[in-house]
């Protein structure tokens, strides 16, 4: 149940890991597609929070190439539908997320990432 909307907001929280700690890199993923209600107003409001490059690159890694490389200024219906699908309908069910900086691996099992840190990683 990790959707890209949440993945796009998630950085590593291990001790002293403050730079280059985003986005966490998916590995060995199993995906599930689940339909969600289309809410264009929500998407428009959410746009400023998105790290666009990270979102597009992650979507491509997961096999979705529907998003433009540059964040568009005109938000037409087709674009919003693609964004909706990428942010809210692709679920990572199994696999892991690795921090690009400290290499901490957050395993994902049954759709739930394990964010627990070892004692020496707690800030």
């Amino acid at each position: 149940m990790v959707r890209l909307i949440t993945h796009n907001l998630l950085a590593c929280h291990a001790k002293d890991c403050n730079t280059n700690n985003f986005p966490l890199q998916f590995k060995d993923v199993q995906l599930e597609i689940r339909e969600a209600d289309f809410n264009p107003e929500f998407l428009k409001g959410f746009m400023p929070k998105i790290e666009w490059k990270a979102l597009v690159e992650t979507a491509i890694q997961l096999g979705d190439t529907s998003l433009p490389l540059e964040q568009p200024e005109m938000l037409d219906e087709e674009f919003l539908k693609n964004l909706h699908h990428v942010l809210l309908e692709i679920h990572v069910e199994e696999g892991s997320m690795t921090c690009p900086n400290c290499k901490h691996v957050y395993p994902i099992s049954n759709g739930i990432p394990n964010m627990l840190l070892a004692e020496h990683e707690i800030g």
């Binding site: 909307i5 907001l9 809410n39 790290e51 809210l88 759709g111 990432p113 004692e119 707690i122």
Partner: protein, 214 residues
């Protein structure tokens, strides 16, 4: 019987059986629902503006179901795997994380438009080991500091909890303020021992214009 948070850490206390019992108990469901609606009221989100929320200690998704019904997109964190499993069974729509809130969050600055938490943060008041990172003030500080940075400016967090003394309220409030939050405590039904509910209402930003709700 003594309070749950004094018996065992939450991930132990809420094992498979306790997690199901807690979730199926209709009185718990009702109380949890009432407090969730009240927390949403205190959040005072702008109307007709869809929001992305965080549920701190989302447990088995009793609050999450209400967030779904109300049309919010949300993520939830909890330290008890058994509770999260029940949440999966109940097919809540939020993203769930297995996380110890005392270790802090890694969400990017400004991620959430609002935060709720029902009956959770009293668990942070119990140290589990003698290690310095597990003392209650350290864990509270880590929690509030990383929560503050994960919230949008301006926004609110409403955290209902069960303090066992005024000292605990004092400790929690002072650490939240040090982390940069404004706001304070709202008490519902202060004169009823049974119905009394304590909400920590925290503000990010707002230039001092945010008023503590009634």
């Amino acid at each position: 019987m003594s309070r749950p948070e004094l018996q065992a850490p939450p991930e132990i206390y809420y094992g498979d059986i306790e997690a199901k019992k807690y979730t199926q108990n209709t009185r718990n469901q009702q109380i949890q629902a009432d407090m969730t609606y009240r927390a949403l009221e205190l959040l005072n989100l702008p109307p007709d503006q869809p929001a992305y929320l965080l549920d701190v200690g989302c447990g088995s998704g009793l609050s999450g179901e209400i967030l779904d019904e109300e049309g919010y997109i949300w993520a939830g964190v909890d330290i008890a795997p058994s509770m999260l499993e029940v949440a999966l069974e109940r097919e809540v729509e939020g993203d769930l994380f297995l996380q110890d809130i005392g270790q802090g969050f890694g969400f990017r600055p400004g991620s959430f438009d609002g935060v709720i938490s029902i009956s959770v943060i009293q668990w942070l008041l119990n140290a589990e080991t003698s290690h310095p990172t597990s003392s209650p003030p350290h864990r509270l500080n880590r929690f509030f500091t990383t929560l503050h940075s994960a919230m949008r400016n301006p926004s609110r967090a409403v955290l209902q909890f069960y303090p066992s003394s005024d000292d605990q309220i004092q400790l929690i409030t002072s650490i939240a303020q040090k982390a940069g939050f404004g706001g304070g405590i709202v008490v519902d039904y202060p004169n009823s021992k049974k119905a009394k509910k304590v909400f920590l209402c925290l503000f990010v930003g707002g230039g001092g214009t945010q008023q503590l709700p009634q």
